[in-house]
Chain length 219, copies 2
DNA sequence: ACCTGAACACCGTTCAAGT
DNA sequence: ACCTGAACACCGTTCAAGT
């Protein structure tokens, strides 16, 4: 006799999709086990059939976001290639701000983090860095990328998705305009420049200068 | 007639001390309002006399940790001065790993963050960077410092304080030794170097190379 | 194998009441 | 002004039970 089909043909992907949607809509706290279960239409404890605990679900969510597409074409030299791969990583994470705290809260130990590290190691080797410097340089680049993303996502007040860049620039400008000029003259003077540091431009500027330093080359 | 003294002469500092102690002992989740209240011997809702909500308490905790001692002596040129101030910031944050997620989760908008930014702006100005480059460079340095701290703290598995460096190096070595050599040849080859990247040394290495790049100077 | 109902031990926060 | 008791609406997780 054949078995009756299960009432819910639930999959891990379905659960992760629901959790990510909640995260995007409501911020880091929104992706509760109970909320995710409700979103896919099961009882809270049904989630434990697929994930051992909440940490496992979060790990899977992060891992999926770090699964960058394999590079197909070379855009240029090793420097622009490093820029391309880190920009893609940044784009993905900034698109899902709620996942960023989950990424920053646990070790960068997954398969896709290894893939990324291996790729950066190869590119820095191409750049003429000896193996030790390439390894340390790879770590420094990851530090810069994750730090950029952390600061960018932290700047968004509410939960959910990042507002468009023009709004974020206006918000920064408003915040910086309240810096007391007497106590912070340099900050106040630089406020105009600093307000526009939203998005990929400031990221690219800093990364290129870091690569300059790693390559021992004048910017 | 004189008023009777309050039963508990509670202060904000007392509450923050208790919350920090819980954070250091039990990790980010340990500093609950209820736990903190119990630690100082009051009912949970008594905390709301001093802090509007949990976010306010966390903000105060972060702000207190960013209150770096004012520089008294100049250690050398602008580069070593940048290194000194960021090392001090890193030292403080790494000493209280539980606070790091709280710092990374909200905008860097407090008074002490402004003080730090103003100081870095001045130092980069000394280094000959024009105001715009000094402003962008300051942001890049903050990105690198916070990224370093995030990665370092995230690498610690359990809650509470960071274990001694020798233990952390052993743990990294063990984790890296399990990287499949076939799929990740460069990572496996560099595992020996990478295992020892705990602590201030790798931080200083990366920071100096970033400053090299910002200053347009060969390392 | 997969799901549910019910429960346990927690949360942050609010409100009315006490001193 | 400051604190408490009690309650509300949440959590993650476990366990026994159902199919």
């Amino acid at each position: 006799v054949s078995e009756p089909p299960p009432r819910h043909a639930l999959t891990e992907t379905e659960i992760l999709d629901a959790a990510l949607a909640l995260l995007d809509a409501g911020g880091p706290a929104a992706a509760s086990i109970r909320g995710t279960a409700a979103a896919v239409g099961v009882a809270p404890n049904a989630v434990y059939t697929y994930f051992a605990d909440k940490a496992s679900l979060e790990r899977a969510l992060v891992e999926r976001l770090l699964d960058l597409p394999a590079p197909t074409t070379r855009s240029g030299d090793w420097r622009s290639e490093v820029e391309a791969v880190t920009l893609e990583l940044r784009r993905r994470l900034v698109a899902h701000p709620g996942v960023v705290p989950l990424l920053l809260g646990r070790p960068l130990a997954g398969t896709h983090a290894l893939v990324l590290g291996e790729r950066l190691l190869g590119l820095l080797g191409e750049g003429g860095l000896d193996p030790a410097a390439a390894a340390r340089g790879t770590y420094a680049i990851m530090v810069f990328v994750l730090g950029s993303i952390a600061l960018e996502v932290a700047d968004v007040p509410g939960a959910g998705a990042l507002p468009p860049e023009t709004e974020r620039i206006d918000a920064r400008r408003a915040a910086l305009s309240e810096v007391p000029v007497g106590a912070f003259p340099r900050t106040a003077a630089a406020a105009g420049v600093m307000a526009t540091w939203v998005g990929t431009e400031q990221f690219g500027w800093g990364l290129r200068h870091l690569l300059d330093g790693l390559a021992g080359r004048r910017p």
